[in-house]
């Protein structure tokens, strides 16, 4: 009460000003810190934007690669991928039987395996066709590996006998992926 009795205009002004200065000073301090952060951000902005553009380019490339492999969304089907490669130019393998299976070589890792055989066992292939087919399978996707190849002459040969260079084959394609525990 004594304090309020002696509260004349200058004192009220001092009191009000000090309270106001404390509030505004706090706000100004906060906003100044915000401004300093913005100025720092502004210096970093060119680098962040450059990084965004690089990542966008990488993502674009990756999406295009996924499209090429037929592994983009909606086409994530390895059997489709295999059959497509069996029919491209310079391969001409034609119809193949695909027998999928799964195994787990390690914890949280899953192998999707696809045994590939010509549908017609008696169909003969040139070495080049088989080689191109297997090459295309690996070349067009980084997530698959040819893990088993067996190439036999179409007619069984005795030692020293010269082949007429027609062959049949069996192959296994493995797609390994991490599975979430």
């Amino acid at each position: 009460m004594r304090f309020f009795r002696s509260l004349n205009f200058p004192r009220a002004m001092i009191l009000g000003s000090l309270i106001g200065a404390a509030i505004i000073g706090y706000l100004a301090y906060q906003r100044t810190a915000e401004l300093k952060q913005l100025e720092t951000d502004l210096k970093d902005a060119p680098f962040v934007v450059k990084s965004i553009q690089m990542k966008a380019k990488q993502l674009d490339d990756a999406l295009k690669a996924a499209n090429r492999e037929g592994l983009s969304s909606g086409q994530d089907d390895p059997e489709y991928y295999i059959r497509q490669r069996a029919q491209v130019e310079n391969v001409g393998i034609g119809q193949v039987d695909i027998n999928p299976s799964k195994s787990s070589p390690a914890k949280d890792v899953e192998d999707l395996k696809f045994k590939i055989r010509p549908t017609e066992r008696s169909t003969r292939f040139l070495r080049g066709s088989i080689a191109n087919f297997l090459y295309k399978l690996e070349q067009d996707s980084r997530r698959v590996k040819v893990t088993s190849i067996k190439i036999d002459p179409i007619d069984k040969l005795k030692p020293g006998e010269i082949s007429d260079d027609y062959w049949t084959f069996e192959a296994e394609l493995t797609s390994r992926r991490k599975v979430e525990g």
Binding site: L35, A66, P105, K150, T174
Partner: protein, 578 residues
């Protein structure tokens, strides 16, 4: 124990008393009186005298009291139909204005003392009026001497308080208190322990000798005329004048006694201040006149410092008369009070400058950050964000394919939201970084789909292992001669975690040559070449057989373990291998 200081400034003399103790029990620890040295500037001269006399006196400012010569003041009585002090304060100056025609009411300090009152009905006041300039001169003199008084009063009230302190004022008697000053004498009439009347007589113990002015009329006496400066003193003339002063004072005291009209009989006239022996020449109107003693002092008595004692006592909380002459512009202001207005202005300036700073910072934040999108004003970071989006995303309007030709929906939607300022939880830089984060997540996802991530080690390629072995065969030329392959198999070994991965290549091979020995040499060359390869993990030489009919040898089930990670690749192949 508190200390207080009382200062009494007369026309040509001053007195200082320092008390130590409380209002009830105190002692005089310092006592000085002296003449105010002559000088052109009375303030400076008084200050000089006070300063020299008060060396070593250290008393807090709030404990210094000043009593001024009542010769400066005019006394009036006033009856008001109420006794509320606050109301009296409000009206007293205007009520008494008509009784002080000699002064401009704005140029005087008006104080009042209550002589008697009937609660809620009326009050009888003794009004004291002092010209501001004269009071101010004395206050400034004290200030310059380093003894600024917290309060000022007339010497009559200080005298009353001093008499009250020594128990002189009995409730069943009346007393006349007299303080003989240098140029004037203060008279206080007390009746039944209460103030009855006050007056001042312009006649003191050190009267002017040469060019003495004519004695003032009664009215002039009451009006506090300032005396001229002290002239040269002739001792014989001085003695004559002192006798005249004493005589005149006795007449004035007789007038006072006859006009006092007290309820109680007057017990005596008690005189203090400067010595004026002629004053004690017998009773006045049958009232004994005697010295006012009993006050403590450095010697036996406080002597002429009684008024200063009363002023000092008041600052210790004693005394019942509270004269308050420091009013209006002469009000006591402490150091803070003097600084408070400049401080207030300074504080206001501080608030204003902070406000301006805040406004500027807010504006700069707008310029640097998002800006005001509603008004079409874009901040720097907003411009970066929009430029980044424009460069990254395709635009049908501009026929621009964009860096990201088919942006994932989530990324495209967030980019649009960020550009429109819809993301209220993030700053612009956080929005940019979030776009970068979303791109990274999407890129990792696609890379994982594409098997480009290193989080899972892919099995070794049976095709690569077989091709590597066949390339070696093809590259050996004459060292291996003509060979025939009757069966080829290549299988990636199923190894356990932690063990070394490899591919097992199995071949049935014929080595043709004119002589068996040459074919055997070719086989050995091939075997040696295999063993020299870094990628050849294991190779077991097999026994060879001679072809039927000669012309070479053959080996069935030739087994080679190949570690494809050790195959040397050029940069492009290496990148693909990863």
């Amino acid at each position: 124990m508190a200390k207080s200081c009382g200062i009494h400034i007369g026309q040509r003399r001053f007195a200082i008393v320092v008390l130590d103790g409380s209002a009830k029990k105190n002692k005089v620890v310092f006592q000085r009186e002296g003449d105010i040295p002559p000088g052109e500037d009375p303030i400076l001269a008084t200050a000089q005298g006070l300063k020299e006399a008060s060396k070593g006196v250290k008393v807090p400012g709030e404990n210094i009291g000043l009593a001024v010569d009542s010769g400066l003041a005019a006394y009036r009585t006033l009856n008001l139909p109420f006794d509320d002090k606050a109301k009296i304060e409000d009206v007293v100056k205007f009520e008494v204005e008509s009784q002080l025609p000699q002064w401009d009411i704005d140029e005087v300090i008006v104080d009042f003392l209550t002589l008697s009152s009937t609660p809620g009905v009326e009050s009888n006041l003794l009004i004291t009026a002092v010209p501001k300039d004269r009071l101010e001169a004395r206050i400034r003199a004290c200030e310059r001497a380093g003894l600024e008084p917290y309060e000022a009063e007339l010497d009559t009230t200080a005298l009353f308080n001093a008499a009250e302190q020594v128990g002189l004022l009995g409730e069943d008697g009346a007393q006349v208190l007299v303080h003989v000053g240098d140029a004037s004498t203060s008279v206080v009439v007390v009746d039944g322990g209460r103030l009855h009347a006050m007056r001042s007589v312009h006649s003191g113990a050190e009267p002017l000798v040469a060019a003495a002015p004519p004695p003032p009329s009664d009215d002039e006496e009451e009006d506090g005329a300032e005396l001229p400066p002290e002239p040269e003193i002739d001792p014989a003339a001085l003695a004559q004048r002192r006798a005249e002063s004493a005589s005149r004072l006795r007449r004035e005291l007789a007038r006072t006694l006859s006009a006092a009209n007290t309820d109680n009989p007057v017990e005596g006239i008690f005189v203090t201040g400067l010595q004026l022996p002629e004053l004690f020449d017998g009773p006045i109107l049958d009232v004994e006149i005697r010295p006012f003693d009993g006050l403590p002092g450095e010697g036996d008595d406080v002597g002429e410092c009684a008024v200063a004692y009363g002023a000092a006592l008041r600052r210790l909380g004693g005394g019942s008369l509270k004269g308050t002459l420091r009013r209006e512009e002469l009000r006591y202001t402490g150091k803070f009070e003097r600084l408070e207005l400049p401080l207030a202005v300074l504080c206001l300036l501080l608030v204003m400058s902070l406000w301006v700073h805040l406004t500027i910072v807010n504006r700069q934040i707008l310029w640097r950050g998002e800006g005001d999108l509603d008004r079409g004003q874009r901040g720097d970071l907003q411009i970066w964000l929009e430029a980044s989006n424009a460069y990254m995303l395709p635009s049908a309007e501009d026929d621009y394919p964009g860096v990201l030709t088919v942006p994932p929906e989530e990324i495209a939607a967030y980019c649009q939201a960020a550009a429109s300022g819809s993301d209220l939880d993030r700053t612009k830089m956080q929005e940019l970084r979030n776009i970068e984060r979303l791109l990274t997540i999407e890129l990792d996802e696609v890379n994982r789909e594409l098997g480009r991530t290193s989080e899972v080690e892919h099995p070794q390629s049976a095709l690569e292992a077989l091709t590597t072995v066949l390339e070696l065969v093809n590259g050996m030329g004459d060292e291996i001669g003509r060979v025939g392959l009757r069966q080829l198999a290549s299988n990636t070994a199923q190894t356990k975690a932690g063990s070394e991965a490899y591919v097992q290549v199995k071949m049935d091979m014929d080595f043709f040559a004119e002589a068996d020995l040459a074919a055997t040499r070719h086989y050995n060359n091939f075997a040696n070449a295999l063993e020299d390869q870094p990628w050849c993990r294991k190779f077991e030489r097999k026994q060879t057989k001679v072809l039927d009919g000669g012309g070479g040898i053959y080996v069935d089930g030739l087994t080679i373990e190949v570690d494809t990670t050790r195959i040397e690749r050029d940069d492009d192949e290496q990148e693909q291998g990863q």
